[in-house]
């Protein structure tokens, strides 16, 4: 894992290249599309006239809606009134809440009180030990760690970094335990796996913000909501990969263990778990990355730490200060990612027989710990606890000036091209408006039918049912028009993302230099808290839906580029060589060989693009997207849970519709 992962990484079980065999429908020469759609078409012929006659053909009929806002608002009022007296709270939820508060503040106090020097020394030595005390990799890792921590201090963010690190430490530990237990269940029991899989699949496409609202309802604003949201968000990859690892255990080894008379527990502890440790570590890696991205988003509900610094800087429109808080997040991500990846790789390698024994195993650990304690004690005695003020550098002024210059020159008056604001206006008037009006004018039953048909084509009957039911659900909870507005923005965003992503991806896959330059940029873009984009995006595109789409594109682009590059790279070199020797030009090679062969990966890129663009809908709410994004922000900030939660659910439903209608690989692997 050299790359920093996306907040919603492509799940390993949906391997892109796993298209097993061509579906029978495709191999037949007759119209396969028609054949597959036939049953649906027959059903539609019967049902649509009835539905249209009963409820008309405009927007979603009000007769079919249910009022969910009032009960939700009532529930919130009840919670507020009874938080101190109801047994549900007194004996369960408040324990959770108090435990979260106290464990996080304990951890923060610990890290802050230990002081910056021992913490840095500890982190450096830990990474060194994990990377290998003797190997170059360990040394490099130690260097990265030192640079990262020093940078956090230099930027004046030491305390905020420690707060974030404390929250992370607790969240990751709990996520890993819960995810590990679930994965254990999923790996050992088929029935459990069957229940777990769809839940994890759905959780993966839920935007991070959607987790915040129900928790705010129960726990109010503050650390508990943030912590629990992070745990819930970060646990799935651990569960998924643990289960995967346990299931993938070599049958021969298991049989051997059994024939030696090992009991089920012995087999689990001595064979199955050790064989799965690589997957489990990869799961841990993913869990850490997801927790980090959530921790910053959770600042919206008062998580504190670096996310709050970003947020606070934005209130004075100070991009520079926001960036100063954003950079430590990127550095933490790099450090944690590299360290866990190194741990995973080293497990696979086994030990080097020629190594000095003092530096390995338990002895290596105790040596590391001993050196750490001594150096820390000396350092702590010589230096003060807090990061010295003289060692900080204020980057906010130069960054702000640079941004002003940048936006000032791109926004308007660019010869011929017109500048970004002109584009934004054009995009709103000529793309977003017609798309939204078109969707709103479409009869409701037709949209449900289209969702069903696309789901059927993409993934079979299960996907069809999910897509259609989700689409109808949006109508039932009475947010039809707002959802279509958001859907139009999402579609536009996905199209732009794919166009740009494929373009850049194709170039990067063919020109190695471009890819090398792009990689660190993509890593940074993926880990930087999305809030930092708010101000530049508004300065460039004006408040409105165009700005929201631009923010979404920026967010989804790195993943799409990366998957595209990977897909094109995996194309069999022999096929490419053959086409070249047949005299195919560069464009012919791309069009006729690379793209068709990389199709599964490109489909995955489409799916990821859709999921990520939708995840940004709520960030869009902060720059004037209106519709669902605004409703969620409104709900969070005004604690109007009825509005917020309904909009959140609608986003999840839209996500299900878009996911099921774009996910081709699911049909091939035969999952529901």
């Amino acid at each position: 894992m050299s790359a920093v992962t996306t907040p919603a990484p492509p799940s390993p079980p949906r391997e892109p290249a796993k298209e097993r065999e061509p579906r029978p429908a495709r191999s037949r020469p007759a119209h396969p599309l028609l054949r597959r759609l036939l049953p649906l078409a027959v059903a539609a012929l019967v049902l649509v006239p009835v539905a249209a006659a009963l409820w008309g053909s405009g927007a979603w009929p009000s007769a079919l809606t249910a009022d969910v806002k009032t009960p939700l608002d009532d529930a919130y009022a009840w919670v507020v009134r009874n938080r101190d007296t109801s047994p549900v709270f007194l004996y369960f939820l408040l324990h959770l809440s108090n435990w979260s508060d106290s464990s996080v503040s304990w951890m923060t106090d610990l890290l802050v009180n230990i002081g910056w020097f021992p913490v840095t020394v500890g982190a450096v030595l830990l990474s060194w030990r994990i990377g290998g005390l003797q190997s170059r990799r360990g040394l490099k890792l130690a260097g990265i760690t030192l640079a990262s921590f020093a940078m956090c201090g230099v930027l004046g963010m030491w305390e905020a970094t420690m707060e974030t690190l404390a929250l992370m430490a607790i969240a990751v530990t709990v996520s890993a335990v819960i995810g590990g237990l679930l994965g254990l269940g999923g790996g050992l029991s088929d029935r459990f796996e069957k229940i777990l899989r769809p839940v994890l699949d759905t959780m993966q496409i839920m935007p991070a913000f959607a987790y915040l609202l129900p928790l705010v309802l129960l726990f109010g604003i503050g650390v508990p909501s943030a912590l629990i949201a992070t745990i819930v968000y970060a646990a799935p990859p651990m569960a998924r990969l643990t289960a995967l690892g346990l299931r993938g255990a070599d049958a021969g080894v298991m049989e051997a263990a059994r024939s030696l008379g090992a009991s089920p527990w012995q087999r689990l502890l001595t064979a199955r778990l050790p064989l799965a440790r690589k997957e489990i570590l990869l799961g841990l890696n993913q869990t850490i990355m997801m927790a980090l991205s959530m921790v910053t988003i959770a600042s919206v509900v008062g998580a504190g730490g670096l996310g709050e610094e970003v947020f606070q800087a934005l209130s004075t429109v100070d991009v520079g200060r926001a960036l100063a808080a954003g950079i430590p997040i990127v550095l933490l991500a790099v450090w944690l990612d590299r360290t866990t990846a190194a741990a995973g790789d080293r497990l696979g390698e086994g030990s080097d027989p020629s190594a000095v024994r003092l530096l390995h195993g338990l002895r290596g650990w105790s040596l590391t710990a001993g050196v750490g304690v001594v150096v820390s004690a000396v350092g702590a005695a010589l230096l003060i606890e807090e990061w010295p003020e003289a060692w900080t550098v204020d980057i906010s002024q130069p960054v702000n000036r640079a941004m002003d210059w940048f936006t000032g020159h791109l926004a308007e008056g660019v010869p011929v091209l017109g500048g970004t604001r002109t584009w934004a206006d054009g995009f709103t008037t000529w793309v977003l408006d017609p798309l939204r009006d078109g969707l709103t004018a479409t009869p409701w039953w037709l949209l449900v039918l289209v969702a069903a048909a696309l789901g059927l084509l993409a993934g079979g009957w299960g996907a069809m049912a999910t897509a259609a039911v989700s689409m109808a659900g949006i109508g039932v909870i009475d947010v039809w028009n707002n959802s279509l507005d958001t859907l139009s923005q999402a579609i536009a965003g996905v199209v732009v993302t794919l166009l740009l992503g494929f373009l850049v991806g194709v170039v990067a896959a063919r020109v190695p230099v471009v890819e090398r330059v792009l990689r660190p940029l993509l890593d940074t873009m993926q880990t930087l808290p999305q809030f930092i984009y708010l101000i530049p995006v508004v300065a460039l595109f004006n408040v409105g839906r165009s700005a929201a789409v631009a923010a979404a594109v920026l967010y989804a682009l790195p993943a799409v580029i990366r998957i595209t590059v990977q897909g094109l790279r995996q194309v069999d070199p022999a096929a490419l060589e053959a086409s070249r020797s047949l005299g195919a030009g560069t464009f012919q090679q791309i069009r006729q060989v690379q793209v068709p062969l990389a199709r599964p990966a490109l489909m995955l890129a489409l799916n990821q693009g859709v999921v990520l663009v939708l995840a940004m809908v709520i960030i869009g709410g902060f720059v004037g997207s209106g519709a669902l994004g605004y409703d969620v922000v409104f709900g969070l900030q005004k604690s109007a849970l009825g509005t917020g939660l309904t909009a959140g659910v609608a986003i999840v439903l839209l996500g299900l519709v878009l996911d099921r209608t774009t996910q081709r690989t699911r049909a091939a692997t035969g999952a529901p």
Binding site: L94, L181, P264, V317, L534, V538, V543, V623, G624
Partner: protein, 336 residues
Amino acid sequence: MRMKNPNPAGRKNPNPGGSRTRLTRAAGAAAVVLGLTGLTACGAADTGSSSSKGSSGSVTIAVPSWVGAEANAAVAQYILENELDTKAELTQLDESVAFDALNSGKVDAILEDWGGAPKKVDLYVEDKKTVVAGGDLGVVGHIGWFVPKYLADEHPDITDWKNLNKYKNLFKTAESGDKGQLLEGSPSYTTNDDAIIKNLDLDYKTVYAGSEAAQITQMKENYKAKKPFITYWWTPQWLNAQLDLVEVKLPEYKEGCDAEPEKVACAYAQTPLQKYFNADFTKEGGDAAQFLKNFNWTAEQQNVVASMIADEKMSSEAAAEKWVKANKDVWQKWLP
């Protein structure tokens, strides 16, 4: 992952077929047992509000996302920590959410409330009595519709709402279509604008920037390019020192004209900004609580600190320190 085996019988009977299900069953049983002990071992949880918080020499102040409030909190924090030897923590919370935190005791004080959450005030102050009113901050807030001065100079009659329809074409954007765009701020701010537009028959559309950051960026960019715009805005605000804005006159505010949100057709009131405290904190907070009750300053004084933070990009601590050192006579009166 190490777990205790709650089912030792599993070891005696190495039946290969049933081993998996038995394992999962055992794991399930362990989880249930763990969960149950977690639930029952401890009694009722501490609700926080009735705890001894506040008396132990630590105060938590809610800071909403605007800079004026940051100035209040920073100055209060500086004086609390340096004069009263009380540790003060600041937590960033939006207006209405802060009341929930005040109720639960997670926060001890709100220093600047714009009256944006009347329902919460009713619930906590009148009904549950967990929150008490803390009197005026001294600053009077006012919300209104504002246009830049260069626009008012060009079209002097634009500052009367009756002429707004005449000028709507100036304010058209891609978002507002063929109506004029009235720029709005964060969803958490108090606004009647949709009702006002409807009831005054104005051909305008509210476009929500979604956050104060987006709104300010948009205003600054428009101002830089000398473009016309009309926006929901308020005083005191640090940005007013940078941008010269003129208020548009709406029908005069009369007591009670904004009682029904749907039917509002008048200007916003002059709002003396209020302080609110957690009820237990006022009883047990000692000197710190008394100091916060006495805390009272003018819009000008607040603006000095706010623009140090916002314009000069000083940290709020540094700004507070500078102001406190220069204005001893003002804050001496607040000390108990």
